[in-house]
């Protein structure tokens, strides 16, 4: 856990030194403790209702797990929040004031919403280091990327994240040459380095060894509080080990919400989802 403390300190230093001056922080109003509002959201693809009047509220600093069978709408929900898919109806607000619908993926990312894909997606033809460099929270305009140089504090920050994700010794390696689990970690690192307010993490432990899974759980729990983390995961053991609040999706809407044991004892949930385990 020492590494995690370090990363927190480095993040702090990095924030103070570099971008508070360069970049204005988006002003997110969380006066009601809710960071993300999803209300009455419906999305359909060719008549299939992927999301059906879905309501979801994520509190600031919370670690939330989303579970649900295939096709329950978990990934579609993430697509809508991050601007990839336009919903048919409903509202998505970031804090009290920022309407996410109608913003592009890049604008949403710059507001501080990071996303890890279900299938690990990194820049395979570039080094681990370059992957992190690109994901860093800096000015993403054309002119500033043309003339960008790494500052010592940015370098320090990248180095800390490399430590945290356990890829310090692989930083010159092409990302495409990493193992599946390492790619997952790199992608988590790319989220981490952007210093997001809200992290949407789609299946973070798929393809990881038991030990790697444990470390991921440790990392995600330690991030909550400072950041808000939403995890989609199929691995029930993993969910059990990290979750305080679990939301169960079924056919595009929320079936149940509560602590893991509440949800597990909910008859409706047992019937449609957990029931399969028994």
């Amino acid at each position: 856990m020492i590494a995690l403390d370090n990363v927190r300190q480095a993040a702090q230093r990095y924030r103070e030194r570099s971008f508070s001056a360069i970049q204005k922080e988006p002003n997110i109003d969380i006066s009601h403790q809710v960071l993300l509002y999803v209300e009455g959201l419906s999305v359909s693809f060719d008549g299939f209702k992927a999301l059906n009047d879905l309501n979801l509220y994520i509190n600031d600093g919370e670690l939330r797990c989303l579970i649900g069978a295939n096709g329950a709408g978990k990934t579609t929900l993430m697509d809508v929040i991050t601007g990839k898919t336009r919903p048919d109806s409903g509202d998505v607000y970031f804090g009290q004031t920022i309407d996410l619908l109608g913003k592009t993926e890049a604008e949403i990312a710059q507001l501080g919403i990071g996303r890890k894909f279900q299938k690990p997606t990194v820049f395979e033809e570039q080094s681990v280091f370059a992957n992190l460099e690109l994901a860093m929270k800096v000015n993403k305009g054309i002119t500033s990327t043309l003339f960008a140089r790494l500052s010592p504090s940015e370098l320090d920050w990248i180095s800390q994240v490399l430590d945290t994700i356990g890829l310090k010794s692989h930083y010159t390696m092409m990302a495409g040459a990493l193992s599946h689990g390492q790619k997952q970690w790199l992608e988590i690192g790319m989220l981490l380095i952007a210093d997001p307010r809200l992290m949407l993490v789609d299946e973070p432990v798929a393809g990881m060894t038991a030990q790697e899974t444990e470390r991921t759980a440790e990392l995600l729990t330690s991030l909550a509080g400072e950041r808000t983390v939403v995890v989609v995961e199929h691995d029930m053991e993993f969910v059990r080990s990290i979750a305080k609040t679990v939301t169960v999706l079924h056919q595009g809407s929320v079936l149940a919400e509560g602590s893991m044991s509440d949800v597990q004892n909910n008859p409706a949930v047992i019937e449609v989802y957990l029931g399969e385990e028994h």
């Binding site: 033809e125 570039q126 690109l134 054309i142």
Partner: protein
């Protein structure tokens, strides 16, 4: 870790890769020029003016290939219409050269170029105004293709058109331009195009020294374009571009407005192609709508594929080699050339997916000492 900071500065790549390239380019061009101007004609070292012009033409093609490599090799935008920007650049230069003829044309009209007199036009169309000034022509050479690329790119990339659909659209673009430039009413000389040029900036285009200067200018511009592209591609901007090529969604979700990046790069590439066209026309002495032909644009893609994508020097080498082969081949077996080109393309795609330069990469050409970024790349290749 501090070492990597230096490798991530753009100057690093320039220091690493440019000297060898520049030495080769200028070494050969200056030697050839000197052999043309100062060596007597009966010496074996004499280089004829015909050869100088031919080499100058190759250098223009190399610049065009560089432009295609910038968008295709680095950003995965397969443009099958770069000939359009090349030809537009050529036409702006051609218009300037046309106006320089003055009353020395066949019909002796002091203002109207011959083809307009032939068509019974009474006055110069408005878009020909100002082309008697070199700087206006140069400005148009950058602005017209740049604007076309901007509008085209903005519409295509914002609507997220990519892959083969985009390639077909670029192909349609150049084809449409070809058809319209073939029309006499367009005011660009119809299917004869613009030709019979006399002089440029007051110097006769027929003289050996002007030919040599044009040839050296082509080399200089190619060198500048190479260094400039190298700087761009080794900056963070270049890494974003490669990122867009490999995982555009990822680039979007970490906050890059990828459409803007692609439009910028497309315009940059189009301007390079236009400059190549403008240098080409005074050397070959003619520009006609045939330059818009879709086949030309496809040929450029073959040069880049043969040389090797995404390296810049590969595109240049590919353009020079294939065009040299074309000159040689068409002299012996003119009708077999297209078959040979096709066979070359197919075999390179199958046996050398990284092009001829892929053979050298990581060998001695560019030492990777103190260059972990390159080492990593090779490690990556081995395990894949």
């Amino acid at each position: 870790m501090n070492a990597i900071r230096n490798q991530f500065s753009s100057l690093h790549d320039l220091r690493e890769k440019a000297p060898l390239f520049l030495a080769l380019l200028f070494g050969i061009t200056i030697f050839a020029s000197a052999c043309n101007l100062w060596v007597p004609e009966d010496s074996i070292f004499y280089v004829s003016t015909y050869t100088i012009t031919l080499l100058g033409k190759y250098l223009c093609y190399a610049l065009l290939a560089l432009a295609v490599d910038v968008v295709w090799g680095y950003c995965g935008i397969l443009s099958l219409g770069h000939g359009a920007f090349f030809a537009l650049g050529g036409y702006t230069m051609g218009m300037y050269l046309m106006r320089q003829i003055g009353d020395r044309g066949v019909y002796g009209d002091p203002i109207l170029p011959d083809f307009m007199v032939f068509l019974n036009w009474q006055e110069l169309p408005w878009f020909w105004y100002g082309f008697d000034h070199f700087w206006v022509a140069m400005l148009a050479m950058i602005l017209v293709p740049g604007l076309l690329a901007f509008v085209f790119g903005w519409l295509a990339f914002r609507s997220r058109v990519a892959g083969v659909y985009l390639s077909i659209m670029t192909q349609a673009l150049t084809y449409a331009l070809m058809l319209s430039f073939f029309r006499n009413e367009m005011g660009f000389g119809g299917n004869n195009g613009l030709t019979d040029f006399k002089d440029i900036l007051g110097f006769s285009l027929q003289s050996d020294s002007v030919r040599v200067v044009l040839f050296l200018c082509s080399a200089l511009v190619l060198a500048l374009a190479y260094c400039c592209s190298l700087l761009i591609m080794s900056s963070r901007f270049g890494r974003v571009i490669v990122g867009i090529r490999d995982a555009e969604d990822r680039a979007r979700f970490i906050g890059f407005k990828t459409e803007n990046y692609k439009v910028w790069l497309f315009v940059y590439s189009a301007v390079l192609a236009a400059i190549a066209g403008a240098l080409y026309v005074p050397q070959v002495g003619i520009i006609n709508p045939g330059e818009f032909s879709p086949l030309n644009s496809i040929e450029v893609v073959v040069w880049v594929a043969v040389g090797g994508r995404g390296t810049l020097y590969g595109a240049i080498a590919g353009a020079l080699l294939v065009n040299y082969a074309k000159t040689r081949f068409t002299a012996v077996f003119p009708e077999a050339w297209l078959f040979a080109l096709g066979a070359l393309f197919v075999s390179v795609t199958i046996f050398l997916p990284k092009g001829l330069m892929g053979l050298f990469k990581g060998r001695k050409l560019f030492s990777s000492e103190g260059l972990p970024w390159l080492k990593g790349r090779r490690k990556g290749e081995e395990t894949q």
